[in-house]
């Protein structure tokens, strides 16, 4: 059974990596793969069902949906990527600092606890309310919201590492605190960080599409998966394809990222490896 589970999860992981790879490549190569340009409108072909000419159909302005999902991938992946990047850049150093300097720890973690206790989509909506709707503000909002996630995970790992003997030896031979943090603590938390990056990237994609769906994120005519779903919403019975394909893109991306995150976590956690397989 255990053997089977291992094989099975490996196959899943491979499949997930292929799916993510395909989506990323599709988004990057959109200008070359896409049959039309993102804003090209076919006035005579509005809300046309999938056909040879438009393999995923067209939207209410006669734009080719396959093309727009590809270009939408560029925007959705970029917004999610930059958001997670923001939270990574601020969250990881905060977490390491908190683990290394005890006085910072208490104050910082209290503040982050308060931020964290608030649901992230709501917090992002409120931040967007303050900054005003728009793509860049959506990135900032999601980025700020996710800082505690990185800081907390990093801190909980780093606190253990800091107490290890080799850190004490490093300190005693005069390695600077910065050197210890970068060279000794860094590699030890890398695995956990990969899991966090993968899982948070997944939720960031949902957060971006939720904001854009509400009209608070990426603004039309820019194609983003969430904004496309919002536009397709009004025609869902006339032209279900306008709602199905952008949503499918979100779903597959998030699913694949979750599978990858889960798989890496299981590999890393020896306790789970035996118990849950």
């Amino acid at each position: 059974m255990r053997q089977l589970g291992f094989l099975r999860s490996n196959a899943m992981l491979t499949l997930a990596l292929i799916v993510i790879g395909a989506i990323v490549v599709g988004a990057i190569l959109a200008p070359w793969i896409a049959p039309y340009s993102a804003d090209q409108m076919f006035a005579r072909a509005r809300l046309v069902a999938p056909s040879a000419e438009h393999i995923w159909g067209t939207d209410h302005l006669g734009r080719d949906l396959f093309t727009r999902v590809l270009y939408g991938g560029q925007i959705s992946l970029m917004v999610a990527g930059i958001s997670v990047g923001i939270s990574f850049v601020f969250g990881v150093p905060l977490g390491v600092l908190a683990a290394y300097y005890k006085p910072i720890d208490n104050l910082l973690m209290r503040i982050l606890d308060v931020v964290f206790s608030f649901p992230s989509v709501l917090l992002a909506i409120f931040i967007v309310a303050v900054l005003g709707p728009g793509m860049i503000n959506a990135m900032i909002a999601i980025g700020i919201t996710y800082i505690p996630r990185f800081a907390r995970v990093v801190r909980s790992q780093a606190v253990v590492v800091v107490e290890m003997d080799y850190i004490r030896s490093a300190r005693s031979i005069g390695v600077s605190p910065l050197g210890i943090m970068v060279r000794h603590i860094g590699p030890n938390i890398a695995g956990v960080l990969i899991v966090q990056l993968s899982l948070n990237f997944a939720t960031a994609i949902i957060a971006e599409s939720s904001l854009s769906f509400l009209g608070l994120g990426v603004q039309p005519p820019w194609p983003s998966w969430g904004a496309m779903l919002d536009q397709g919403r009004l025609y869902v019975e006339l032209a279900p394809w306008a709602s199905i394909f952008p949503g499918l893109a979100i779903f597959l991306t998030v699913l694949a990222l979750n599978i990858i995150g889960d798989a890496v976590r299981d590999r890393l956690d020896p306790r789970l490896r035996g118990a849950l397989r």
């Binding site: 206790s117 608030f118 992230s120 989509v121 869902v236 709602s243 779903f251 998030v254």
Partner: protein, 300 residues
């Protein structure tokens, strides 16, 4: 709560552009006209005077008037709140029930086909954006159950059946995400407790399997599950804001999104304050619930 109110108030003031400018966008009014309107709405007063009068109003139950429509903010919120509350409550009930039951089934059948069946469903449920799921449900309902009333909200007090038939799809969409998270947590937690010594002891002394499950395993594995549920309630409130848009429900979410677009300060402030308040209350209730479930937990 006072700190929260000040943060909410000042944050909302930071929104670039004000309601007056937005209102005048269509018909370009002169700057004198704008000033007159600002004066009438009280937007020309310094921020601390505005804050003082807003806070004073709230303490007496008055949330102020909407800058946009002139309607009473408290009244608007009061009308919209039950819709969101019903949605979140139904979603929580569906999600928790589904998640706990499936989680137990998956854990007690670990490695067998039921487990293999339930686990991927949980992963899919976590990954599917619930507003997309909502759209698909609307589509499916339109195709296969055209006689069902799925749009056009009616208050529960007016027509309970009609109300439930409108609310069932969004609640399901909302509950599925929660259910998946709860299922995964329940499964892990039950498995962990099952491997503990006291469970083996209970079995060894000849206790029947169902009572081992109820008295020993469930009771000990529910705490992390409840943590997940309470954390997820916040996520559900966020989700309901989005789902209200899909199903055209006149709830808090719709009110909030419109108010943000129109820079309607009192409205945004009122809704934000209410949601924050609910949130603080939920956290408090969770702490109390822990105490009830686990006598070892002391309230700090």
């Amino acid at each position: 709560m006072l700190v929260v109110s000040l943060i909410v108030f000042s944050a909302v003031r930071l929104i670039p552009g004000d309601a007056v400018d937005i209102m005048f966008q269509a018909e370009a009014g002169s700057s004198e006209q704008r000033d007159v309107l600002r004066q009438r709405l009280g937007l020309d007063r310094p921020w601390y005077v505005q804050y003082g009068s807003w806070l004073g109003g709230i303490l007496t139950g008055n949330f102020g008037a909407s800058l946009r429509t002139g309607m009473d903010v408290g009244g608007e919120i009061f009308r919209a709140f039950p819709v969101t509350l019903e949605l979140v409550m139904l979603g929580t009930i569906i999600g928790s029930a589904l998640g706990i039951v499936l989680g137990i089934v998956a854990a007690t059948n670990r490695g067998r086909w039921l487990d293999w069946l339930i686990q991927p469903v949980g992963l899919v449920g976590l990954s599917i954006p619930n507003f997309w799921l909502g759209s698909l449900m609307l589509l499916a309902a339109g195709l296969y159950f055209p006689q069902l009333h799925v749009v056009g909200f009616v208050p529960f007090s007016e027509d309970p059946l009609r109300n439930l038939s409108v609310m069932i799809l969004p609640s399901l969409a909302l509950g599925l995400t929660l259910g998946s998270a709860v299922m995964r947590m329940t499964r892990t937690s039950v498995l962990e407790v099952m491997s503990q010594d006291f469970v083996r002891t209970a079995r060894a002394k000849g206790m029947l399997e169902p009572s081992v499950l109820w008295r020993h395993i469930l009771r000990n594995s529910l705490i992390p599950v409840i943590t997940v549920i309470t954390i997820q309630i916040g996520v559900l409130i966020g989700g309901s804001i989005v789902l209200e848009r899909v199903f055209a429900l006149p709830g808090l979410g719709r009110l909030l999104v419109t108010a943000i677009g129109e820079r309607d300060y009192p409205m945004v402030q009122g809704i934000t304050l209410l949601i924050t308040f609910i949130f603080v209350m939920i956290n408090l209730l969770t702490d109390i619930l822990y105490r009830v479930l686990d006598p070892r937990v002391k309230l700090g």
